[in-house]
């Protein structure tokens, strides 16, 4: 009974979404074009040019006026943004390497987004792309901040004029994360405005990514003094690598909550990015600020879909023995798969000989590879 209801609801959802698609003009959101900064070769030496020239640099063409002003104001930040965009793409492709949609990117001029038209949808994948990119910018800018490549961020190692002997505030670089977070907000969210439901979703998902970065920065302290007393206290930061943030976001992707377009209002007062989403299934709990949200069911990503710019799973490699999403049954959508056996030669039985040589034998291995038809 409950399942029936759910299915009805889902069907209804797709219906409303479909009509919604017709209303909203399909056009790459302008705010997402900065992703194409990740294009190899795009970053010329010009980006390291003096501040004045940076603004009109042709490499910054994908950026909007506001974004350009922001990176001009913070010299060095643009390089961090570039590396952040690359980091996001790498991480996305790593996390989705075993799924039908494997985060494909294409560089086709500045007109469209490099992730393809998936970002104009409102499905789980869209949510992930938005969150991972904003997270990557926050992470990369924060990191650059602590390495001193961005001069304007408030983290510097000069001695702050504070009353020492107070409890030790993090004097070094707690501001790194803050700066990265703020920068990512100003840079990524800049064009996601308006009252549209889609924009609210995107803003929320952007924020989800950033919150994951900020919360994974941990501060640890230790007391030093005679026999365990706390005469002085030193503190430091531990920041995990971006892989674990990607992993956490992928977890959020798996547990993302579907929300209804109605009744989504901003919280009044503080919190520009806090929305009241109502979950599609009223039995589910409301999405928190670390939960990804979406409103549209994902396509099945089986066949070539020009409206998505996705080539389908034809020719994709699949795992013959797996029963999961990377298994051939699911990956090829039941179209069947082609298995070929091939022989490779590789080094094996390597022995370390004193000193200092590694001697190996050449072995032949039989391997199989399956690809979807």
């Amino acid at each position: 009974m409950r399942l029936m209801l759910l299915m009805c609801l889902a069907w209804f959802m797709t219906l409303t979404c479909g009509s919604g698609d017709k209303r909203v003009r399909v056009r790459a959101p302008r705010g997402s074009k900065w992703w194409s900064l990740a294009k190899p070769g795009e970053v010329s030496n010009g980006l390291r040019a003096p501040v004045r020239k940076l603004y009109n640099n042709p490499s910054l063409l994908p950026l909007t006026k506001r974004q350009r002003r922001l990176v001009t104001k913070n010299p060095g930040a643009v390089m961090a943004v570039v590396s952040g965009a690359r980091m996001a793409i790498d991480e996305c492709q790593h996390q989705f390497r075993k799924r039908r949609w494997n985060c494909p990117i294409r560089f086709e001029g500045h007109r469209s987004s490099i992730f393809g038209k998936i970002i104009q949808k409102g499905c789980r994948e869209t949510a992930f792309v938005y969150s991972i990119t904003s997270a990557a910018v926050a992470y990369s800018v924060g990191r650059a901040c602590s390495q001193g490549t961005i001069q304007t961020c408030s983290c510097d190692n000069r001695v702050h004029s504070r009353p020492s002997g107070e409890d030790w505030e993090w004097s070094g670089c707690s501001d790194n994360a803050k700066f990265g977070h703020k920068f990512s907000r100003k840079f990524v969210d800049v064009l996601e405005k308006g009252r549209d439901f889609r924009y609210m979703i995107n803003l929320h998902n952007n924020e989800v990514g950033r919150v994951h970065v900020s919360n994974s920065l941990r501060r640890q302290c230790k007391c030093h003094g005679m026999s365990g007393s706390c005469t002085i206290k030193t503190c430091w930061m531990t920041l995990p690598d971006f892989r674990s943030i990607g992993l956490a976001l992928k977890d959020r992707f798996d547990g993302a909550s579907q929300v209804l377009p109605e009744n989504s209002v901003r919280n009044r007062g503080r919190g520009k990015r806090r929305f009241n989403f109502s979950p599609a299934n009223s039995l589910h709990k409301k999405p928190g600020r670390r939960d990804l949200v979406y409103f549209e069911d994902s396509p099945n990503f089986c066949d070539n879909d020009s409206s998505l710019g996705f080539d389908g799973t034809k020719g994709r490699e699949c795992n013959h023995s797996s029963l999961g999403v990377d298994g051939c049954d699911l990956m090829c959508c039941g179209r069947g798969f082609h298995t070929e056996h091939y022989v490779v030669q590789d080094r094996c039985q390597c022995i370390f000989e004193w000193c200092c040589e590694v001697k190996c034998k050449m072995c032949t291995f039989n391997r199989t590879r399956s690809t979807c038809l």
């Binding site: 907000r185 919150v211 302290c221 230790k222 003094g225 005679m226 706390c230 005469t231 531990t238 920041l239």
Partner: protein
């Protein structure tokens, strides 16, 4: 404009929790209430949800060395420098002043009162920079004791030491229990211990007539708040302090500089090791005992840092020690603690000035009434000095019991086998049949050393900089930690003692 974004995201998340735990009961209840057909696949899916919520994802990968430097090494060094530079500068200025004092001829030189006054004022300034207003407790303790000393000395000189000790103990305990809030007390406790040792030793020395008369206010304050030893110690005797004025034995300054540089850089290395490297080398997913060893080692290196810095500040301010060994090892000797021969050696080398203090003023004083009582009183005194903290008292008493057991057991073994396997090293020419170079003796000593390391890991593991650190650890924290290791070390020690009894 969107420039004034609110910012509240770093730190705790107020809502939006991690995955809710699905307990087994919830799962059963859900399945029972489920109306449709329960398929195996569905059970599997539900089970997988449960599993995921069970395994807390702990990030245990080792971060890159570059990141370690950025996130931990640099800030640690910067903060250490910020703390220590004022202290070092004060010490140097004080030393210069002493030097100027000594340079002039007898008639034209600066009066010694000025030296004492500077020592005290600088000491109080340093205290102010470390503890803010909490330094008042120290000042109050110091002045109360001075009145006490004057009063008792005028009445009956013999009781000076006892009165001072009683006052200090009462003051410390009432401060810890009633007057000062735990966090503040925990902060100033290190300095309070040093101050207590100074005052008690002064009282006893006056009582025994070693110091002819009660020092005047300036001398007394100068001694108590001596800038070179007020924060991190080490304890110095009044005679040692007084040598500042008349000593002519200024060693060559280049050597002196090099020594201080070496000591302070060793200190910083220990600090970095304690903060960053222990947790980088041994990750959180290691075996339980290795983790215990890591936490204990981190604590030990933090102690070496304090010892080295105290050494550096004291020699920087011109204090000289009586010992003949090189000045670097005046306070602690890490090499004897990290690779110990026995626990007795560890206890001795942990803090040499404190060890000397306990030996001179407690052990030797109680010795006439029996050795066991003397040992016991020594540990009681050391516990009282450290305040009534359960964790420290438990550690100190365990340590006392362990080292006593070890000492008597090894002495007995050494008598039976006629070999150099006592807790203390044999003298070069001993009359044992098997000397230290005999393979079996070496192996036995290494084994006892390993046992000592095991005990140290067990005893030191609860100084693990967890949440309670800045207020002092609670009793439950200690017992939890030990229960996690099944009190193994205590059983081992009891076992050793029983074996000693039987043999």
């Amino acid at each position: 404009m969107e420039d004034d974004f609110y910012y509240d995201d770093v730190g705790a998340d107020d809502y939006g929790q991690d995955y809710d735990d699905i307990s087994y009961e919830d799962l059963l209840e859900y399945i029972n209430n489920y109306e449709g057909e329960v398929t195996p696949e569905m059970l599997e899916i539900l089970e997988s949800y449960r599993k995921r919520s069970q395994q807390k994802v702990v990030d245990v990968s080792r971060i890159a060395i570059q990141e370690l430097i950025n996130n931990c090494l640099t800030p640690t060094c910067v903060q250490a420098a910020q703390h220590l530079l004022p202290l070092f500068i004060m010490c140097v200025v004080f030393k210069l002043l002493c030097y100027i004092c000594k340079v002039g001829t007898k008639d034209s030189r600066v009066p010694p009162i000025l030296v004492h006054l500077t020592s005290a004022v600088f000491g109080i300034m340093v205290l102010r920079s470390f503890f803010n207003m909490a330094l008042l407790y120290l000042v109050v303790c110091c002045s109360l004791s001075y009145f006490m000393l004057c009063f008792v000395c005028a009445w009956n000189r013999k009781f000076c030491g006892l009165a001072a000790a009683a006052l200090i103990v009462i003051f410390s305990i009432s401060c810890e229990l009633f007057i000062v809030e735990p966090k503040t007390w925990h902060k100033i406790r290190g300095s309070q211990i040093i101050l207590s040792m100074k005052i008690i030793s002064l009282g006893i020395d006056i009582g025994s007539g070693e110091i002819p008369d009660v020092p005047n206010v300036f001398e007394y304050m100068g001694y108590c708040f001596n800038v070179g030893s007020v924060i991190f110690g080490p304890w110095i005797s009044y005679t040692q302090y007084y040598k500042l004025l008349d000593s002519q034995n200024d060693t060559s300054s280049l050597f002196w500089c090099a020594q201080i540089l070496l000591t302070s850089s060793l200190g910083v290395v220990c600090l970095v090791y304690s903060n960053c490297l222990t947790h980088w080398l041994i990750l959180d997913n290691a075996q339980q005992w290795i983790l215990a060893y890591r936490d204990a080692q981190s604590f030990r290196f933090s102690h070496y840092f304090v010892s080295f810095i105290s050494d550096a500040t004291s020699s920087l301010s011109g204090l000289t020690s009586d010992s003949t060994s090189p000045a670097i090892w005046n306070v602690a000797r890490p090499q004897h603690i990290e690779i110990p021969r026995s626990l007795v050696e560890v206890v001795t080398n942990w803090n040499l000035p404190m060890h000397n203090w306990l030996k001179t003023y407690v052990f030797k004083a109680v010795r006439p009434y029996g050795v066991f009582l003397a040992v016991f009183m020594t540990y009681v005194a050391s516990s009282l000095l450290h305040g009534l903290n359960f964790q420290l008292s438990a550690v100190l008493l365990s340590l006392g019991f362990y080292s006593y057991t070890e000492f008597v057991f090894r002495r007995r073994l050494s008598q039976i086998y006629d070999a150099c396997i006592q807790a203390k090293k044999c003298k070069p020419k001993c009359d044992h049949k098997y000397t230290s170079s005999h393979p079996a003796v070496i192996v036995t000593n290494l084994g006892f050393g390993a046992l000592a390391m095991f005990h140290l890991a067990y005893l030191g593991l609860m100084f693990d900089s967890s949440d309670g650190e800045d207020k002092g650890y609670t009793m439950w924290h200690t017992l939890d930690k030990w229960a996690g290791l099944n009190y193994l070390s205590h059983w081992v020690a009891v076992g050793t003692f029983i074996v000693y009894w039987v043999v």
